[in-house]
Symmetry: C2
Subunit: 467 residues, 2 copies
Amino acid sequence: MLPQNGVEALCQALPFRGGASLCRQPEPALASPSVKPVPTEDSEEFSMALARRAFIAGGAHTQYLGKGHPDFIWKRHPDFGKRENPTLEDTLQEAVDGCLADTGVNPADIDRLYIGNFVGELFVNQGHLGSALAGTHPDFAFKPAARLEGACASGGLALLAGLDAIAAGADLVLVAGVEIQTTASARTGGDYLARASHYRRQRSLDDFTFPAMFARRIKAYGERYGLTDEDLAHFAVKAYANANLNPLAHMHSKTCTFEHAKSAHDRNPNFLGNEEFRPYLKVTDCSQVSDGASVLLLASEAGIAKLGRTLSDTVEIAGRGHAVDSLYTDGDMTELTTVRHATHQAMVDAGISVGDLDIAEVHDCFTIAELMSYEAIGLADKGQGAALAASGATALDGKVPVNTGGGLIGFGHPVGATGVKQPLELFRQMKGRCGDYQVGRPLTWGLTSNMGGDDKTVVSFAVRNHQ
Amino acid sequence: MLPQNGVEALCQALPFRGGASLCRQPEPALASPSVKPVPTEDSEEFSMALARRAFIAGGAHTQYLGKGHPDFIWKRHPDFGKRENPTLEDTLQEAVDGCLADTGVNPADIDRLYIGNFVGELFVNQGHLGSALAGTHPDFAFKPAARLEGACASGGLALLAGLDAIAAGADLVLVAGVEIQTTASARTGGDYLARASHYRRQRSLDDFTFPAMFARRIKAYGERYGLTDEDLAHFAVKAYANANLNPLAHMHSKTCTFEHAKSAHDRNPNFLGNEEFRPYLKVTDCSQVSDGASVLLLASEAGIAKLGRTLSDTVEIAGRGHAVDSLYTDGDMTELTTVRHATHQAMVDAGISVGDLDIAEVHDCFTIAELMSYEAIGLADKGQGAALAASGATALDGKVPVNTGGGLIGFGHPVGATGVKQPLELFRQMKGRCGDYQVGRPLTWGLTSNMGGDDKTVVSFAVRNHQ
């Protein structure tokens, strides 16, 4: 484990790609220890939950696909009418097959299966996805399988269920996340996704309910701390820059310059109908409507042995956090309180502090959500999230790279998959599998933050590399 | 634990209500030991899962409500236009409040919360119900909460998640199930519920996809074993008779005579559009489209102590089964293979055999499903399920009462609630709380079987009374 100032120490000491010059100055200090972890009684149960240690042994993503990707079929695509985009069944199958191949697991040895999905019932008329997951391999017949749903944190909940399965005695657990969203128009999709809000109370906010809810946060945050379009542009530019290096990213071939993102214009409009919030959100502030799946294999120590592997082939989920706030009330619009609870739980559970983090995956459903996540986790002090991004400290070559594959804005956001993708991305980074977007130095500790709704369901994992 | 022939022994030995005369003759023998439990390797993991014992400490149901209940508001109700039926939020709140009151638990002491729901996204435009559950009490803020979905087995999956939480170190876990279904027409509801089938492949079977799937089973079973409308009528008559004694039942005030149920007629029509299957299913063969919620409190041994209670106030979930088959294929139409796997897992896990059962709650989404459940569990041999029902052995005063509160046909079937309702009903029966439908003798062992889709996701619990 690294000392509190471990990130700085690493940055100076290690011969990583680009060298010390990448530690750009000036930049804000990482948050002071005044950001307190949540009370320890909250994390007691989690410590017990990990009495049996759990590890990620491998996994696979599909291509994340949607408008803006050259392979995505839509009316202006030359293959339109000739072939279809992959179905949910296709997408899930591909990721499961990829995970089986990556880990070499004997499917018959898998004890349980979990799947995260938000609204298959609406986008593809399909619920009951535990049974679909059980159908991805003949050896899965009659095994325990279940679907977890917590809006955009569905994948994180599936992984938590997998960790409980390990705690309860399972040795090998397959955890999938999947979403297909491109079957509906953006406006219809906005209505479907509004099921993550308190629909009865909040749907009327805008046709695009969630973009409006986060525009409201941009407004509130700006009123308290000051915030410009340029501030938010740094997050979008980083996301696309990382995605441009990631062949699986939805936005792999779309570039986003600072010039493009830094203001509203015809090609980057303020698109909300709600007049109060319209000026605060642009297209570049938003994550993507993506199709995709991510699947990983969890293993206990006995499970790793069954795979014929060793600890050094894995990363450990050394800490977990799970906090849920009431759907019926609005929290503080200038911070992600539930993210703070869950991420600090995960760090306390793992016995680390924010200064130990080498890398993170946070839930950038909107640029403001990444900004507020920095502050909630403690990577930046309150009001300093934008400055941290602008400094480059969270870029691929920064002190604590965040969302190295492009995050929800660049990699894409098939909502049920995101919470599985995040820890699998930490695994891939820690094991040097990220190709052009590989962080060029050893990584010991990573953190994920997966958020459902407007700071309502949050799942966080503290992930430790075994070398 | 009772010997294999424990039910017969109890029937002779115990001074229960109605006495030995209730052991009607003639009746088929309970199934022979030739019905093998599933291989023990399937249950290994489950045994480990229960390393920390888990108990039901209490709970509550709301009224199960829908068409046919005098309190249900619809166009012919005198209050139509003056007041509304309870919302999902109302229904969930009432059941949570009921559970808190029944158990006396300090809400702040609850470690985690789970909720089963099938398609809130469609009937009430609301997903993300973990966050709704977190909103039912201020002390639940920032606690872990999640929604499980596995079609009509969603409630069972939520309870399994609760058991894993106990295994992982939690002491008190609240488990809810809820569904609101009366917001849509029967035909639209049929489309929504078809998300539990493989929609792409099976939706076209009939406007009422699931009724058609079970009519197909009636046809296939009849072709193999012989089956009459009269055979199935016994199940419907039992369900309504039990419901008539249960004030919370949807069909509390609706009677169903054998004469009414034994054939198709104007008031009991064959309603399917599919001509091949239409003759096989009548209205009385179907469970109800109900609104309702059930909530129970799970406790570890330490949790029971926190409640200031003793083991004798609880029932133990001594065995669990969870089996899921592929959504993409059709199984044997004459048996419930997945039910067999899950229920035998639960019994093996608890160390009991079918002869030990004093009571059961099975998934009578259709009369044929209860019949096939008898055979899958081993209460009847293959081809003998109807005879078992006709003998009265599963009636309230029979050897092994099944669905004493009316089951899905009589009590009602708010799909996400059913899998929570079943074990809570066993608790209520074992603790003598069932009023007019109380079984009049001590009950030691009970079994539940909760099925999602057409024998796809099955969750089963072996429940032991502590006296």
